[in-house]
Symmetry: C2
Amino acid sequence: MRSLIFISLLLTSAKSVQAQNDSLFIRQAYDAALSNGHAYENLRSLCKDIGARITGSAEAAMAVEWSEAKMKSYGFDKVYKQEITVPHWERGTKEAGWVRKKNGELIKVNLLALGGSIGTDGIMEGELITFPSLSALQEASEKEVSGKIVFINQPMDEKQISTFRAYGGCYPIRGNGAVEGARLGAKAVIIRSLGMPVDPHPHTGSMHYNDSIEKIPAAAVSTQDAELIQALVDAKESLEFVMEMDCQSFPDVTSYNVIAEIKGSEKPDEIITFGGHLDSWDTGEGAHDDGAGVIHCLEALRILKELNYQPKHTLRLVFFMNEENGNFGGKSYAKIVKEKGEKHVAALESDRGGFAPRGFTCNGNEEHLKMLASFESYFANYDLHVFDPGYGGVDIGPLKNEYEDIPLFGFVPDSQRYFDFHHAPSDVFENVNKRELELGCAAIASFLYLLDKNL
Amino acid sequence: MRSLIFISLLLTSAKSVQAQNDSLFIRQAYDAALSNGHAYENLRSLCKDIGARITGSAEAAMAVEWSEAKMKSYGFDKVYKQEITVPHWERGTKEAGWVRKKNGELIKVNLLALGGSIGTDGIMEGELITFPSLSALQEASEKEVSGKIVFINQPMDEKQISTFRAYGGCYPIRGNGAVEGARLGAKAVIIRSLGMPVDPHPHTGSMHYNDSIEKIPAAAVSTQDAELIQALVDAKESLEFVMEMDCQSFPDVTSYNVIAEIKGSEKPDEIITFGGHLDSWDTGEGAHDDGAGVIHCLEALRILKELNYQPKHTLRLVFFMNEENGNFGGKSYAKIVKEKGEKHVAALESDRGGFAPRGFTCNGNEEHLKMLASFESYFANYDLHVFDPGYGGVDIGPLKNEYEDIPLFGFVPDSQRYFDFHHAPSDVFENVNKRELELGCAAIASFLYLLDKNL
């Protein structure tokens, strides 16, 4: 009995020494991020020296070069590109919209074509018909809608505490508005931007067409303009809408996921993939979406290397290309690594902006959730408190199709300001706070450390 | 036995119904704040229609008028002013500083007199001597310092997770720098601003003199200028500093704490005081410090009234005057209410900015801390997680001298961006996020509700 107690004490004490070491390591990771960190300058460079990075653009190609050079400069064990095929859509040079009142008065609106939309082929105009939601449009008759320009003014629900939930509620108007409008013979569809504040910035984003239904142009107006149009509609004004857009799609192009690795010391063939997406929409600078995410993950690996951490598993940093309009980076990655017969044991993504960290969510089994919960105490001093079941991320999502049991982790920063900037011209470097960004890097470096040790 | 079980079930069920009702009420408070809330527009008006509000200024007087009118417009049970005496210091019209290099080259710096400083009486110049901390200055000899202008370049510790802790570490250079410099015969003291980022904004704030030691001018330069001066010092440049400030103190003036109440239905003589401070420094607009705090509390009371909540205790909203340079609002309030024989059962303050809520801290006894902890579950869906022992606030602090057992609660928003703006020209309305502000109002309204029901 006494020896059992002794062994148990020894184990407990070994465990508590280990926990102390882990805590010490995490403190060092935070120090490295907050003091002489590289994240803020790297994000500045990605935003200002490259800029917005939609696939098919020169900026996307230069972002690939920038990323590879940056990864190489840090001396990781391996840096390489993974060739993929991605869409090529361009906004073009003309993009304008007006509301015309019965008396001829013109009100110019701030408008952005939705990503993937066709152009208007010169000036397009028509009677404006307004719906409060996609379902209201779906319930309308062809007679009401045919030949008109549809405006869907569905605001994000400000009462949601998670702005991502509010975004999810409005997503269908952007994704399916054009199909549902065209089904009833509309000429074009205009949506209220999926932005939380009422401000002058229009927000673009992905939309889709249906092969069996005519393609019509689709664009977003700023929330401020949406309120203005609604006020005119409420005052029973008959309105027309006038617009011109020369956006168009081109043949697919070759691009790359950009990858860096630190080789595992014990299980080099077991891979932990983590990253964000390098591409962005073509407006603003893709600073929060997802410059912050790729920089978070780059900085996390840099810190682990700076601290001489020898991972058990291979840590693989992936800058995914083309999350925004097709997710061909994420889909291709999952297929390629599966075909190569690689073993993937976990994945983590940062694609919710560069705000103050709140925690991590996990799409995994009971054991993974238990492991996640066991990490919480390490982060108590760092203001993290979300260690819950939840979403991983768009880029890493396809790994779940290839590796059934893989846990997918999502980094969760505070969501309150994300939809001020998401897909809008205001998603620029200046709207990312240095400390908030750095704290995200530290949280992810610490999380990867714990994950690697506990898997 | 069976009847005991029955009673116990009844009690449990009554308790759970009560908890459900509480949760429902809190959801309604959040809805009221996030949808059609008044907070953002009220803060805009306070910042733009009034502006910075240092005691003795016309703006401070107008802020009192603004507040009383605003409180009256909401139809609270009682609105009144409490007369107090406050300091009157003015920055004046001249405020400039230069670093002069040996070769005559002049570098203009962004400088702000510290609050309460004397002026320079025309141009003042002298050799610049730099110290990395207040203690380094204290250890210097009179011979080294006498006749020179002292520069203390102690940066806030960026490795601290709580920026308030980093602020606390630097506070002495601002509070005591002039006294310590003068003790060794310095002509003036310049400090590195107590700001977290390296940027061009100088941060003012309170400082003090000692009656037995000569008064010398004291000012802060921006962190960017501090880095620049340090680089010159590191390069062994001999530097002089040239400055002019015509700030000065005037005789004390009469001002007011502005107060509104909803009378308690069960214990009208037991008072819960809550508020922030209406005054601000004279630079920027006092948007986060403490416009956000007074608006938080005003909106919380408005919401409780809108939801027809009948408090058990009297809820008393106080806009304290003169937190920044003397705390005469808070000190006078505590004395006056004690002299009147009032019974005060709790107090809450919001004076940490208008950022996303993290929780509440409590300076109280075991029972109060237990009560605070019991509130946590109500806020789980609202991203609040700090329910810890801790600080109340400067304005409510003096109540503890008069009422030994009173629990003081502090509202805790995220601290990461606070010292980007604190006491700086950048503390303007545009740097407050609407949703973050509104979530603070909702958290405080919900907290007051729980506090009132559980005291």
